[in-house]
């Protein structure tokens, strides 16, 4: 989507500059560079700084920011606004993310592009409200009911909070689906340097617009075009099973089958295009041990891999930038010669189970809960225990 003059003018004051800011703030700025038009949210630690910055800055760029009565309404508002052609976003943490699940399902079923930021904190429930965790990895995948696919990305630095939110908006528009930026309270609440890009260097993806409203929910393509309200065409948008023209048909098995398989397949069949990982392989020796991590955990994990190599041990490293859809091909390829794969994450082993499904070697979960991230030393110790 092209940026309008208001946004360009606003961003011209920021472009090219280096800021020393929180991950949350970087996420908010990233959304502004993505051309965010509409934000609706409800404050919650450790995500409040996103809403705070957007509330003060988005109106200057000609957009609208609303504090809603709760997270259910926030999610509903960004779905509605998306159908006017707006790029929309909300931001929350675990408890709010739970409340959003119903309307995330609605966004999936109605194929409404939007971005949901979850800055994960220690739960369940109010848990350790101000402390970081990565406990929503599977909630992001399966939090809403029914068969569906989801896209979720996990930043591991403040710069990446900025970069990945831009990517989330593009993925949302390309695949006409809600996209989740799965931050964690650690990466959201550290301050690091962020370089703001030149506005002209950013290519924003565009939504496909349907020629006829009769094919807004079907037709030949896996991702059909949308129509935008207020531009002369009408279409019925419903969370119930519907035909290509949007009208309800909740009784014909074939209609449901076609709709849900297409919504599932548009992400599943584009898995290789969507998924991004980063590898750091030992180029000197053939490693038998590997470490897979993501988000804030990937920082001490990489530090531990580097420390082990400094001691002459051969260890490979893979970081998942895309959490969902799962990088099954990349993980299987990474692990094909490995005997043992360690998976440090700030939960009791949510993604390690997914890793297990696609590798033949032994998978060792390196969990960390309690509101503090892993130290380099504890992952290093776990590596040294299994490496020869």
């Amino acid at each position: 989507m092209a940026l309008d003059d208001n946004k360009r003018q606003y961003l011209s004051r920021l472009e090219g500059k280096t800021y020393f800011i929180l991950g949350d703030e970087a996420c908010a700025y990233g959304a502004l560079f993505a051309g965010l038009d509409f934000f609706a949210g409800y404050p919650i630690t450790p995500a409040s700084e996103i809403a705070e910055l957007i509330a003060s800055e988005l109106p200057k760029a000609g957009g609208i920011s609303i504090q809603m009565e709760d997270e259910l309404a926030s999610m509903a508002a960004i779905v509605g606004a998306s159908w006017t052609g707006a790029r929309t976003m909300t931001a929350t943490s675990g408890p709010g993310f739970s409340l959003m699940q119903e309307n995330i399902g609605y966004a999936i079923m109605t194929e409404s592009p939007c971005v949901v930021v979850d800055v994960q904190r220690s739960g369940p429930s109010t848990g350790q409200a101000t402390k970081p965790a990565q406990g929503d990895v599977l909630q992001a995948r399966w939090g809403t009911h029914g068969d569906h696919n989801i896209i979720a990305l996990a930043p591991n630095s403040v710069q990446e909070c900025f970069d990945l939110v831009l990517e989330c908006f593009d993925l949302a528009d390309i695949y006409r689906t809600p996209v989740i930026l799965l931050m964690d309270g650690e990466v959201g609440h550290i301050r690091e340097s962020v370089v703001m890009p030149q506005v002209s260097s950013i290519e924003h993806a565009s939504r496909k617009i349907a020629a006829r409203s009769a094919e807004v929910f079907g037709g030949e393509e896996l991702v059909p075009g949308m129509i935008h309200y207020g531009q002369g065409q009408n279409v019925h948008v419903t969370g119930s099973t519907h035909l290509a023209n949007g009208m309800r048909d909740v009784t014909t098995p074939h209609v449901h089958d076609v709709l849900i398989k297409r919504i599932y397949d548009k992400i599943d069949k584009n898995r290789e295009k969507i998924v991004r990982v980063e590898t750091d392989l030992d180029d000197k020796k053939k490693a038998r041990v590997g470490v897979i991590s993501y988000g804030a955990s990937a920082r001490p994990a990489r530090g531990a891999v580097r420390a082990a190599r400094a001691k002459g041990k051969s260890v490979d490293f893979l970081r998942l930038v895309t959490i969902w859809p799962f990088a099954r091909t990349q993980v299987a390829d990474f692990a094909k010669d490995l005997d043992i794969i360690l998976v440090p994450e700030m939960n009791l082993g949510q993604l390690s189970r997914e890793v297990e499904r696609f590798v033949s070697g032994e998978v060792v979960s390196v969990p960390r809960i309690g509101g503090i991230p892993h130290t380099v030393d504890e992952i290093y110790d776990a590596v040294m225990e299994v490496v020869r």
């Binding site: 609440h189 301050r191 920082r299």
Partner: protein, 179 residues
């Protein structure tokens, strides 16, 4: 270099850590600032961590430090065991009673009456954090003086720049005396 500032909400702990790390970024270093606060953010525990390095930073929440600035007794007692042997401890001597039994080996202890001087000399207890910043930078040079002054001027509320810079210079003077 890893520095932990610890005290309670309202002492300018997080601001002090923010200023140091911002100065480090101006110096062209890699730097991370991290902070912790309770759900009750006023009056409760407050700490700000600073990591300054030439290379990529892997440890997001350090578990030991080269420098500990302790401005309350609980902060001192909680964090002093995690100061690295040979590290530097800076404390406010009116707010913290040091206990050698708790302290790691060979640490260098600096006790100054930062809060008292801040009140008597500047009429504002809050600038104790600037006195400590000046003291620490004169002693250990984690950041350049130029960057420190720039970061202070940019960070403190408008109209208070001079008072804050004066307080920082007072800290430098005290460090000179201590040497």
């Amino acid at each position: 270099m890893i520095i932990r500032f610890a005290g309670f909400g309202g002492q300018g702990i997080v601001v002090a850590s923010y200023i140091v790390v911002k100065s480090a970024v101006y110096d062209g270093k890699r730097a991370i600032q991290n902070q912790a606060y309770g759900s009750e953010s006023r009056g409760g525990e407050s700490r700000g961590d600073v990591v300054i390095a030439d290379e990529e930073i892997y440890e997001l929440e350090p578990t030991s430090y080269d420098v500990l600035v302790a401005l309350t007794q609980p902060a001192y007692e909680t964090f002093i065991p995690l100061l690295k042997p040979g590290g530097t401890l800076i404390l406010d001597k009116d707010l913290v009673v040091a206990d050698k039994k708790l302290e790691p080996k060979r640490i260098k202890r600096h006790a100054l009456a930062a809060t008292d001087i801040a009140f008597k000399k500047f009429g504002r207890k809050i600038v104790a954090n600037m006195i400590i910043l000046g003291y620490m930078n004169a002693l250990l040079h984690p950041v350049s003086q130029e960057s420190l002054e720039r970061a202070i001027s940019e960070t403190v509320p408008k109209g208070t720049e001079k008072m804050n810079l004066d307080a920082m210079h007072e800290g430098m003077r005290l460090a000179g005396e201590a040497k």
